[in-house]
């Protein structure tokens, strides 16, 4: 594949780069090539400016004061919730809970939804490609409540067989918890099919959408998922904020997660009653400035044709995938059809950390390690992988820099 033969997508990544000040940065006197987007994406000035302007002119605590700024901030905070609702196509604002991140969102479901419903011997179905944030909360229930974790394997190409997952759902299954997009393999899971199968057996489905929300247009109504967790910082938004979507019917029945201010109706010396969702799950002062930043990030994404952005990211993935074929010492892990723009690989005789160190000195930022997915590493018989993950602002020229750096690493270490 050459640059000339490609069809120009209707999205201009080079123009978008101007929105990201950090991309002009040099590291070790070399232009930064930021390919660690699956860990965290960079922030466009639209997000940074919005947060700054909000903090400089409209900021106060929300839902508390009667004063002007408190009302203004509350309005902005709730408007951000509405933007998230639209982004996910949720039915109602009370189905959108702000959390401090994707991890907290999943922990909230583990604690408030599943813990009261699970008894010793009950099962939770997971895939081997889950991130630790969608594993460890379920281990807590294994440790505390005797829950049993049932693992669904992936195929050798990293794809997920919905029938295999279906087969793992039994009479004792209380929840299916799976990722929308694997943070290591890039695999996009067939959610709609899986949700239909789980629901046919009366089992709810939680989706870890931390990667999924970045690369796919998410419609929770169409997917019919019970819970969908996402994080702001991978979506070009700020750290410190995430979202838990949950069906209103579930949220209504759930106990609070954290206790504190904002989440109560009334507190006396002897009694406490809780607020309705979403406030019930938002104890304490929420990430107010971050909510406005997240809204700006979603607006930023919405300013593009998302299908064109996806096509661009896919082009980068295919371009990189083709280019690494020249290295017979490199094994790509995860080749599922239709996968997202995440390329993980193992290099013969070279540890991922050595490789990443050499790439780093060429200005290329990649991730090396187990990517918080140790069961998956075990599945593929590797200790660690090197991962390049592409965002909307990456270019083919940057892929070329990575390829050259890989060749150099081979020269040094090989």
């Amino acid at each position: 594949m050459t640059a000339q033969s490609s069809i120009q997508p209707a999205f201009d990544p080079v123009a978008a780069r101007d929105d990201f000040e950090i991309l002009a940065k040099k590291v070790y006197a070399k232009p930064l090539v930021y390919l660690d987007n699956a860990a965290s994406a960079q922030k466009p000035r639209q997000v940074l400016d919005t947060m700054r302007n909000f903090a400089a002119s409209e900021y106060a605590n929300v839902h508390r004061g009667v004063h002007y700024l408190s009302a203004a901030a509350t309005e902005r905070y709730e408007a951000a919730r509405e933007t998230v609702r639209k982004f996910l196509n949720a039915a109602a604002h009370e189905e959108i809970v702000f959390t401090k991140g994707g991890t907290e969102a999943i922990n909230l479901v583990a604690y408030s939804y599943l813990m009261p419903r699970i008894a010793a011997g009950d099962e939770i179905v997971l895939t081997v490609m889950e991130h630790h944030s969608n594993i460890v909360p379920w281990h807590f229930l294994r440790e505390r409540n005797g829950a049993v974790l049932r693992w669904v394997d992936v195929r050798d190409d990293g794809s997920l067989d919905p029938e295999a997952l279906d087969a793992a759902i039994g009479p004792k299954t209380k929840l299916v918890a799976l990722t929308h997009i694997s943070n290591v393999l890039g695999t996009v899971t067939p959610l709609k099919d899986i949700v239909a199968r789980a629901h046919a057996k009366g089992v709810p489905v939680l989706v870890d959408g931390c990667q999924g929300a970045v690369h796919e247009v998410v419609d929770v109504h169409d997917l019919d998922v019970d819970f969908y967790a996402l994080t702001g910082h991978k979506l070009y938004g700020p750290t410190g904020i995430g979202v838990l979507y949950g069906k209103a019917a579930h949220f209504k029945t759930m106990r609070p997660f954290n206790g504190g201010g904002e989440m109560i109706q009334e507190v006396t010396r002897d009694l406490v009653t809780y607020a309705d969702p979403p406030a019930r799950f938002e104890a304490g002062t929420p990430p107010i400035i971050e909510s406005v930043g997240l809204e700006a990030a979603l607006d930023y994404l919405a300013s593009f044709d998302r299908a064109a952005v996806k096509a661009h990211e896919h082009d980068l993935l295919m371009y990189a995938r083709e280019a690494v074929r020249q290295f017979n010492w490199l094994r790509v892990i995860g080749d599922a059809p239709g996968k997202a723009s995440i390329l993980s690989f193992e290099a013969e005789g070279m540890h991922a950390h050595d490789l990443a160190t050499i790439l780093d000195r060429e200005g290329v930022a990649v991730r090396a390690g187990h990517h918080c997915a140790q069961p998956l590493m075990e599945r593929f018989g590797v200790m660690s992988t090197t991962r390049a993950s592409f965002a909307l602002y990456n270019t083919r020229a940057e892929v070329d820099v990575m390829i050259e750096a890989l060749a150099k690493a081979r020269k040094i270490l090989g």
């Binding site: 070279m350 050595d354 050499i358 000195r361 660690s384 040094i412």
Partner: protein, 151 residues
């Protein structure tokens, strides 16, 4: 090529990592410990035979990890065999100074020269833990074993 990279991945390091010395298991070890770097998943197990005279009569290690961690373990095993526990700990102190880019004390000329191949690590703060894993594990083995972590 970047000089600091050349310094980090010099031939001696790569040779140690490809052909680690004293790699394997000691069935009759008096002291063992496992080390783990949760950041990258590197693992090392150190086996020691410490004699009545407090001398490290034998040492072997097993593990998987990056070139830096493997080379460091290999070099360490090579250097501390035959030394007393106190001497090994002193060597470790000097080594830690070296890879952290601190002033190196307590190393004689010959030891300093041997360990100097690891000095390039000090330019890579994110990789210092790779270099120190085996040494912390060795110390943990001397102190009665168990698990050492780099965190």
């Amino acid at each position: 090529m970047d000089d600091s990279l050349r310094e980090l991945y010099q031939e001696v390091i790569l040779d140690h990592s490809r052909h680690p010395r004293r790699f394997g298991k000691l069935e009759r070890a008096t002291n063992t410990a496992q080390g783990y770097n949760p950041l990258c998943g590197d693992r090392v197990t150190i086996y020691l035979i410490v004699g009545q005279d407090d001398r490290i009569a034998d040492i072997k290690f097993e593990g998987r990890g990056c070139a830096i961690s493997q080379a460091s373990a290999s070099l360490m095993a090579d250097m501390i065999v035959g030394r007393t526990v106190a001497e090994a700990e002193k060597l470790m102190g000097g080594f830690l100074n070296l890879v952290k880019g601190e002033e190196v004390r307590d190393l004689n000329g010959e030891d300093r020269e041997k360990l100097d191949v690891m000095a390039g690590v000090s330019a890579f703060p994110m990789r210092v833990k790779c270099a120190t894993l085996a040494w912390h594990t060795m110390k943990s083995a001397l102190e009665g074993g168990g698990a050492a972590k780099t965190e």
